[in-house]
Amino acid sequence: MKVLAAMSGGVDSAVAAARAAEAGHDVTGIHLALSRNPQSYRSGARGCCTIEDSNDARRAADVIGIPFYVWDLSERFHEDVVEDFMDEYAAGRTPNPCLRCNEKIKFAAVLDRALGLGFDAVATGHYAQLRTGADGLIEMHRAVDHGKDQSYVLGVLTQDQLAHSLFPLGDSEKTSVREEAAERGLLVAHKPDSHDICFIADGDNAGWLREKLGDRAPNHGGDIVDQGTGEVLGQHEGTVGFTIGQRKGLRIGRPAPDGKPRFVLDIEPVSGTVTVGPRDGLRIDRIAGIRARWCGSVPTRLEGTVQLRAHGAEHRAVVIVRDDEVDIELQDPAEGIAPGQAAVIYEGTRVVGSATIAATDRVGV
C-alpha cells in the first residue's frame, strides 16, 4: 500500500512510520504544521507544533529512509479546532480538542488529501488496534498497553476513516516502543511525551482562554452560590477559570457548615453563576449525548461501558440510541463530568462510537 505517515516529531509516530515501512508499505512521512506562527512557540513549548518538532520528524524520516514533507494545515486547524475550542469554552462547555483534531484534521483533511493524491491509508502513532470483524467491518479496539490506550481520542472515527487508517503501535507497550526507537537509531527515542493541548504552549489553559476570549462570554464575573441553600458565598472574576469538579481556588471565605470541602458543581455561562456544593453533588448517572458518531454499524440499545475523559475510568452503562443522539445510563456513577466532553462507548475492548455530552443528571435527581 501507499501509506502516508503523520509524523509529529515524537517517538510514537516515528516508530509507527518505521514499522509501516518495514511491513513493506511505500511510506511517505509528513509533518503537519498546525500553528500559524510557530516562532511564538520556540521557547518552552510542548506538544507538536514547534520547529524543533518538525526537525525531529524530518530526522526520523531520514533514518527510516522515507521521503518527508511539511503540510501546512494551520488555517484548517485554527478554524476547526482552535476556534471550536474557544467557542465551546465561551458557551460554558469543556471540549476535548484532540478528538476534534482527529475528527476534522488527521482523519479528514489529511486523509482526504492523501486519498486524492493516490495514497491508500494514513498511519499514525496512536495506541489502538484495528481488526477485521466477522461482518467484514474494521473494528477498533483498545491498545494492548492500557496505560497508553488512545482509542478514546479516536472514538469519533467512522468506518470509512478506519478503513484507511493504520495504527502500527496498538499491539505494543510504550516501553518497548522506546526501546525499538533506540534500536532503530531514532534520535527521539527518549524524547518526553507530550501531554498538554498542543496549541497552548505553556500549559496554562485558563490563562490562554482568558487572553484569547477577551470580552466574549462567559468570561465575566458572577456569584458563587451554594447548591443546598442558594446562598451567595462570594464573587468571582470570570467563569473561564472554573471547571466542574474543581475544588481549589474557589476563594470562598467561610467553610461549609458541615466542614467538608466544596466543589464546583455547575457553571452557568450567561449569568456567570458558579454553583458549589459537596462532593456528592458531582456524582452523575445519566448522560444525554449529541453528535453521535459510530465506528461501524449503528446500535439501537447496548450494554457496555463508556469512558468520559482521556485515560479516565470505564463505567458500565446502558446506551439507548435515537438518531444522532444517545441516552446513557451509568451503572457506575461518574464524578465531575462537564458538558462538551466526549463519551466514548465500548463493547468489551471494541469502540462502538462516541457522543458529545450535552447534559448530565445527578444521582438521585
Binding site: 500553528s35 510557530p38 520547529i51 511539511v70 482526504d112 488529501r113 486519498l115 493524491l117
Partner: protein, 387 residues
C-alpha cells in the same frame, strides 16, 4: 533517473570548478602568511579576484569575497546604510522593491526595527517589474533623505529582469548609491558592473556552477561601507576572516566559464524553457506562465496551475523523480504563499497553486520530455486531492 528542474535553487558544479577547488584543498598556505606557501595561496586568491573582475567588468579591488549571497546582501545594505548615516544623520530612507529575496528584505526589516531605517517597498506590475514612476516619486518626495536603493537584477522566483539601467539613471540624479542582488543574473543574462553604473552588486558561487559558501560583493572603490565582520582585516578591512582559497578558486573558475558561455547558454536553455512551457500548456491548457515574457531569465518557467496545491504537485512530481520548487519562502518551517506573487497581484490561492521549474547548464531535452509526460496525470491527481 532524477530530472533536476531546480537550478535556481542550486546548480551542479562545473568540472573546472571542482578541479580548482580540489587542487587548492590539498595545497597548504594561508593567503595572509608571508612565506612562500602563503604567497602562493595569495596569488591564487588574487588571480581569482582578477578573473571575476574581468568577467563582470569591474576592478579587482572592487571584489570583496564573502560567504555567499546572504552575507553580501547584508554587507551591502547595512554597510551602506551605516556609512551613509555618518555622512548625513537624516538619511534614513531605503528604497527597495516588494519582490526582493529574503536576504534583502530581512536585513532591511532588521534595520527598520533596530536602526531607525525607513524602508519603502516599491510596487511592481503584474509581471513583477519595478514601477519606475513610483521609484521616481519616492525619491522626489525628499531626495536628501534616501540612504540607498536596492533593486535585484533578476527575480529568483518568476525570473523577471529589473530595469537596472533606469534605476541607476534616476538614482544618479541625486547621487544615491544603488545595490543590486545579481545572484540569479550572473551567467544567465549579461551583467556588466561598470557599464550598469550600480555601486554594489551581490553574486554567489553555487548559482553559477561554483561551490557553496562563497560569494562576493562587488563594491565601487569610491563607496564607503561599514564592515560587519571584524577580525584580521582581510578583504580591504571590509570583511575579516581567513580567506577561503579553495572555495574562491572554484568560484572564480565557475564565474569565468559561466560568463564566457552566457550567450550560448541563454539561447540553448531558453529554447528548452519555451518548449517546456508550450508542452505543459498543451497538456494543462489553463496553466499560466508568470513573470515578464519580454524580460525573463532564460531558464525560468514559473507556472500557476489553477485548482492545485503547489505542495501537492511538488510531492507528486518528486515521487516520479522530477524535482522543482514551489518558489515559496519557507518561513519558520511553514510554507507561506510567495510574497513575490502576492506583490504581482496574485491571490493567496493563486500563489499557493504555483511551481517554479528552472533549467540550467545540465538540462536536456529529455528533462523537458519527462515533465511533459508527467504533468498531466500529476495535475489531475493534485486537483482530486483538493476536492
Amino acid at each position: 533517473m532524477t530530472v533536476y528542474l531546480d537550478h535556481a535553487a542550486t546548480t551542479p558544479m562545473l568540472p573546472a570548478a571542482v578541479e580548482a577547488v580540489t587542487t587548492q584543498l590539498v595545497t597548504t598556505g594561508n593567503p595572509s602568511s608571508l612565506h612562500a606557501s602563503g604567497r602562493h595561496a595569495r596569488r591564487v586568491v588574487e588571480e581569482s579576484r582578477e578573473t571575476i573582475a574581468q568577467a563582470l567588468n569591474c576592478r579587482p579591488g572592487e571584489v570583496v569575497f564573502t560567504s555567499g549571497g546572504t552575507e553580501s546582501d547584508n554587507l551591502a545594505l547595512k554597510g551602506l546604510f551605516w556609512a551613509r548615516l555618518t555622512e548625513g544623520e537624516d538619511r534614513l530612507r531605503i528604497l527597495t522593491t516588494s519582490v526582493e529575496h529574503h536576504a534583502v528584505l530581512d536585513p532591511l526589516d532588521w534595520l527598520a526595527e533596530h536602526e531607525g531605517a525607513v524602508v519603502e517597498q516599491l510596487p511592481v506590475d503584474s509581471a513583477g517589474r519595478l514601477d519606475l514612476a513610483a521609484l521616481r516619486e519616492a525619491i522626489d518626495r525628499d531626495p536628501g533623505s534616501v540612504a540607498l536603493i536596492s533593486v535585484m537584477w533578476a527575480n529568483n522566483e518568476v525570473g523577471t529582469v529589473q530595469p537596472i539601467t533606469e534605476v541607476v539613471a534616476i538614482a544618479a540624479e541625486h547621487g544615491i548609491p544603488v545595490h543590486t542582488d545579481a545572484v540569479q543574473a550572473v551567467g544567465s543574462v549579461p551583467v556588466d558592473f561598470a557599464g550598469s553604473g550600480v555601486d554594489a552588486l551581490t553574486l554567489t558561487g553555487h548559482k553559477v556552477g561554483g561551490p557553496y559558501g562563497v560569494g562576493a560583493l562587488v563594491i565601487r572603490r569610491e563607496v564607503e561601507v561599514t564592515p560587519l565582520v571584524h577580525g584580521g582585516g582581510q578583504e580591504r578591512d571590509i570583511r575579516s576572516g581567513t580567506i577561503d582559497t579553495p572555495a574562491i578558486a572554484g568560484f572564480a573558475a565557475a564565474v569565468e566559464l559561466a560568463v564566457k558561455q552566457q550567450a550560448e547558454h541563454a539561447e540553448r536553455v531558453s529554447a528548452l524553457r519555451d518548449d517546456l512551457v508550450r508542452r505543459v500548456q498543451e497538456v494543462v491548457p489553463d496553466a499560466r506562465l508568470n513573470g515578464d515574457p519580454g524580460g525573463k531569465l532564460p531558464g525560468n518557467a514559473h507556472l500557476t496551475f489553477p485548482g492545485c496545491e503547489g505542495d501537492s504537485l511538488l510531492m507528486l512530481l518528486d515521487a516520479r523523480g522530477i524535482e522543482c520548487s514551489t518558489g515559496s519562502a519557507c518561513s519558520a518551517g511553514v510554507p507561506q504563499p510567495s510574497h513575490v506573487l502576492l506583490a504581482m497581484g496574485a491571490s493567496d490561492e493563486e500563489a499557493r497553486s504555483s511551481l517554479r521549474f528552472s533549467l540550467g547548464h545540465t538540462s536536456t531535452q529529455s528533462d523537458v520530455d519527462a515533465l511533459a509526460d508527467a504533468i498531466g496525470p500529476v495535475v489531475e491527481r493534485a486537483r482530486a486531492a483538493r476536492r
